[in-house]
Symmetry: C2
Subunit: 139 residues, 2 copies
């Protein structure tokens, strides 16, 4: 999943070459909303990603500039993964997927307020979340 081979020069196709799989956006989600930022954090997520798949996806996301590694402030042994601006900019995509899904799946507890806000003032919500994510980068 590392190197990218563009299937066509369609923007959608090129995007799917990068994150068009069942796992990449879930890792982005964990980084964005779930305060997860280490290898083991991702492993523990509800969907149960396998370790080799996680390693492969992290490598691909890093090679494509969506995430980056850095030192963990608490432990020398740990590696901290962070979203880059390019990764953070996927927020609108993820929000739209949520808004779509909300109509067809039962809504998990806790996110209803955010969904409501997204429908009321989408731009403001994106701006606000982006801001706090960007601040996280410059630690």
């Amino acid at each position: 999943m590392g190197t990218v081979k563009k299937r066509s020069n369609c923007l959608l196709s090129s995007s799917l070459d990068i994150f068009g799989d069942k796992w990449s956006l879930l890792i982005i989600r964990d980084l964005m909303f779930n305060n997860k930022n280490t290898y083991n954090d991702f492993l523990k997520s509800a969907e149960g990603i396998a370790t080799n798949i996680l390693a492969s996806r992290l490598k691909g996301l890093e090679e494509n500039g969506l995430i980056e590694k850095s030192e963990h402030p608490g432990s020398r042994a740990k590696i901290l993964y962070r979203l880059t601006p390019k990764g953070i900019e996927l927020l609108p995509v993820i929000i739209e997927i949520h808004l779509w899904a909300e109509k067809y799946f039962t809504i998990p507890s806790g996110i209803e307020p955010t969904l409501k806000e997204a429908k009321k003032d989408r731009e403001a919500l994106i701006k606000s979340i982006t801001k706090s994510l960007m601040e996280n980068i410059s630690l």
Copy 2:
């Protein structure tokens, strides 16, 4: 790819269970923007999907209510695939992916005006495209 097994009750995860692969959204794209609506139309797209994969994806998309089959008005031999409202509602997701991709890939000819319109008045564009897609349904 037919039956759905939800990995978790996360809205994003459930969505990726349905269209989180390298092909499904491209078929939706062809139906939305490229006036393609038969099996062979999809086969001929630039990315070069294999026939068995196409069959599998069409089945999955139909089982999940994103597309539906109908009779082709011109030829009895042909099958016409159409987006359902549930499929059409993926338009905002696809637009956001395009807007993201525009920043990181070279833009293919022809879609620049649409991208510009999407940035100027996103809601109006979505409304307009949705309307014409919906009219297509009730033939």
